[in-house]
Amino acid sequence: MTTENNGSNEDVIDALTSRWFDSETDDTETGRSAEAVSRSLDSKQRKQVVDFQLVHSLLIQLSDRNKNTKEKQIQQLMERIANETNAHRAGIVKLSRFLRPFMRYGAAALLILAFLFLLKLTPSPTATAAMAQVIAAFDQAGDRTYSILIEGNRRDRRTPRHERFDPPPPGQKSSTHPPAFRKDDRRDRRPKPFDRSPERGREPGERAVLDGSTLYLRGSDQFVLFRPTPSGRILINGCDGQTRWMIRPEKPVIVSSHPNAFPIPLPKELADILSLNLKETLIHIGKHYQVKYMNETGESEHRNGSRIYLDAERVSRDFNGPQNIEIWSEAETGLLLRIEFAGIHVEDYSSPVRMIIELTNQTPLAENWFTRQTHHSPVAEVYELSGEQLIEDSVKKQH
């Protein structure tokens, strides 16, 4: 049995690597099918595949004797670096000429040093402008769909990755409710004792997770977040701009007009910074982080134009947030494309992880997508919570 399994595994790896290395490079279908197969491999098999990839790469490198190509590659890189440096130096030269008369005095030299020190500390005008553009873009932005993913080493591998819940086609009212609220659900639907804490009492294995969640945004104040549980159920948090609501499997729908109602459990590094409308998150970054404008590069796949890449390092010692955050946005519009939080401690992961929120879609959603009625059965029980009840239940206990 073991021999058969080993032979079978080798066949899978051989077929996969052969398909990858020996097909035409413009064959995207090969790429997609190879990626799908590779996901079915276990850790050791993937390492075996990586070794084959490395052999393939070493053979290409060994056969590549064209020194001109290598030299050209380096020259192109150094030219780009020189262009960047020249642009930066032009700003310093203007400043230096202005200050030259004062350089005769020793005190003036100290003034220059102090100024350069402050210049290094404060965000560059470009970074400030880029952040302002991204924040302002939220108010004018249309419907956006973001995926939330966690990259890291899971401690518990018994729980498989779940399927995301796909939205209905744009313009159509949702006719598919999340699994827990289908009309033909024959489970016990008698009223249950009212559970004031949105996620209180859930077993750890049944808690909704951020990894694999989908976040829908409209403007700067409407959102819907689908969070899956390991068993495949979906928890939904939403806001229509005025009312917040939460839909949980086999429990009443809860609504509130309190602006902070139904916060979702977050890792400690994100508790102060991550808000579901994302705009507030960016405002926090602007206040507590030193943001550097890295480069304008590449093509935005969502529209024509390039991307801006911003790197943010936390400078506020009393602000509890990740040490490093990276942001990508469209240069032309400020549309937020991707945001990555590094060094996050998440339950079930053996080491700090990266949490990535990435724009996947700008397809217009149904007009009523951000109202709770779109996402639950018409006969579902709905409870409205006051602000006092929320302070007691939602803030004190998160799980």
Binding site: T17, D22, S23, L62, S63, L77
Partner: protein
């Protein structure tokens, strides 16, 4: 003051160019192992080095520079993978980390240049039997497609694919025996 800044920049760029040249082949090997298209490999190389230049003050001098570069490249690869999964193969942090460890293993081998460190690969190719050696020679050194190799050798496509894969497998074993690549332990 301006002249001082200019001279400092010239020196910094010269030093960085040395680091680029020393690590160019290693980084290209890393990127070619995960990306199919040559232009994508080149783009990722340029972006990695550019970011390394921009973040040079953050580089921890106690760690190998090549390792730091591969860390930057890994992030770019993952970012690209999110957008275009068909361009990259078996991309996840665990496998990229394993790939980086293998390249670190090669970097620590004796030899002044990367080519010196992997010199055993030439011996391994020479030790292949005729059919396998011919397949490798045509595929990599003459850059023939599988179809072209099949036509030239008057053999079926499937046979050529199997020969290439078998040849790569024997080269892998040979490189492990020569300690160019480490064995998988877990």
């Amino acid at each position: 003051m301006v002249e001082l800044i200019r001279k400092t920049e010239v020196k910094a760029k010269a030093i960085f160019e040395i680091l680029v040249r020393e690590n160019q082949t290693m980084l290209m090997t890393y990127l070619r192992a995960v990306a199919r298209h040559p232009h994508l490999v080149d783009d990722l190389f340029q972006e990695t080095m550019l970011i390394a230049w921009q973040k040079l003050e953050q580089y921890d001098h106690t760690r190998p520079f090549g390792l730091w570069l591969r860390g930057i490249a890994a992030k770019l690869v993952m970012a690209h993978f999110r957008r275009a999964q068909s361009d990259l193969m078996v991309v996840e942090e665990g496998t990229l980390e394993y790939l980086s460890r293998q390249l670190q293993h090669i970097s620590q081998r004796p030899g002044d240049t990367w080519e010196d460190k992997i010199a055993a690969l030439t011996h391994c190719i020479d030790s292949l039997s005729e059919h396998y050696q011919q397949s490798i020679q045509l595929r990599y050194f003459e850059q023939a497609s599988v179809a072209q190799i099949a036509a030239k050798t008057k053999t079926s496509l499937e046979t050529i694919k199997k020969r290439l894969q078998r040849a790569r497998s024997m080269l892998l074993d040979c490189l492990r025996r020569h300690n160019v690549l480490a064995e998988i332990t877990t």
